[in-house]
Amino acid sequence: MEALLEKLLSLVFKYGLLAFDALKTFLAARTGKLTEAEVEAEIERIQRQESEDIAADWQKVNS
């Protein structure tokens, strides 16, 4: 029971922080006028981040 409660609390904490981060990102990104260049930059960021994360995972497996 105690372990379950601890697990539940850690989940609430983890996803609470994540939701807080997402809200901060949302509010920060809303300010100012959006440009097409910003959207293109976000697409590039998503693709670059994906490649970097995948490469880092394989590097870890083989380290």
């Binding site: 994540l18 997402a22 697409i43 497996v61």
Partner: protein, 296 residues
């Protein structure tokens, strides 16, 4: 004894879920447009949420059935494609009525709900056939600007709405990436530990036959750990998620073109209109070329 019926074998119009969905769409349409029930904002929003969820559920159900039966029908010949278009169109029409002047939150909700079924379609189709992802993206590209345009009109509000949508997409991307990065990192750690443990196994003791068996087992364990199938599966999920997020960003870009066209039309600036029309044609030709390259 008769052959078992595969879920994907029966055409969509002979399946009960198709008629249930039609019923939900028609009911939602009547409710949302105020023909039946109280003509309030809350009723319209509830109707839109129900429609979005119904189409999403139908798409996922059909996709799972087809994935099991190994269907490779092109996306534009599937019932979920046309129903997604229909539902998005319905919501666009409802969005026009739902959004009062200056109702930013309602407009954003209508736009996001309009996106939900096409996004579900894109991700779900991606599971059946990778090439159909482009077609799914095309649906998104066609539908979102319509929804945003309908909700926001052609004035500066459109830019605010795009701002909000882009901000919501960025927040969703960030949160999803964090979760998936952690999950994949855990899988990578497990595989690394398994590889290290296998490499550390001592195969020098015992008879020659035992040593050979030990070495074979060790090699197999190292190969399994370095191949790391759970990590590959995790990366596939990450790629699917990122594809949907990039799709959303492409939609915002496409909506920009449409909003600019609307602004130019409102200003009766012929030169600007022609420039924007050229942009639209260029974007369409790029999409068609991509479709041909992928054999869709």
């Amino acid at each position: 004894m008769s052959e078992p019926v595969i879920a994907g074998d029966r055409p969509f119009y002979k399946r009960t879920e198709f008629y249930l969905l039609l019923l939900a769409l028609i009911g939602g349409g009547l409710l949302g447009s105020g023909v039946i029930g109280p003509d309030t904002l809350a009723t319209k929003l509830i109707a839109m949420v129900l429609e979005a969820l119904a189409v999403l559920g139908y798409t996922i159900g059909r996709t799972l059935a087809k994935a099991g039966a190994g269907s490779d029908k092109p996306g534009y010949l599937t019932s979920e494609f046309w129903l997604t278009l229909l539902s998005a169109g319905l919501m666009t029409l409802q969005g026009i009525q739902v959004v009062p002047a200056g109702g930013a939150l309602e407009g954003l909700l209508a736009a996001l709900l309009g996106v939900l079924p096409p996004m579900g379609y894109q991700v779900a189709r991606g599971k059946v056939k990778a090439a159909s992802g482009v077609l799914g993206l095309l649906v998104l590209v066609l539908v979102l600007p319509l929804t945003i345009g309908a909700c926001a009109g052609w004035q500066s509000q459109s830019h605010d709405r795009l701002n909000d949508l882009h901000a919501a997409l960025r927040a969703a991307s960030g949160a999803g990436e964090t979760v998936l990065r952690q999950v994949c990192d855990e899988e990578a750690t497990r595989c690394r530990d398994a590889r290290r443990s296998a490499e550390a196994a001592d195969c020098t003791a015992g008879a020659a036959a035992e040593q050979d068996l030990c070495k074979t087992t060790r090699l197999a364990a190292i190969a399994k750990a370095t191949t790391c199938d759970p990590l590959r599966a995790c990366h596939k999920k990450r790629q699917e998620f990122d594809t949907a997020m990039v799709g959303g960003q492409l939609l915002v870009l496409d909506a920009f073109t449409l909003v600019n066209l609307g602004d130019a039309a409102a200003a009766k600036d012929l030169e600007a209109i022609l420039t924007e029309v050229r942009k639209v044609l260029k974007a369409a030709s790029v999409t068609i070329r991509n479709l041909k390259l992928r054999g869709v």
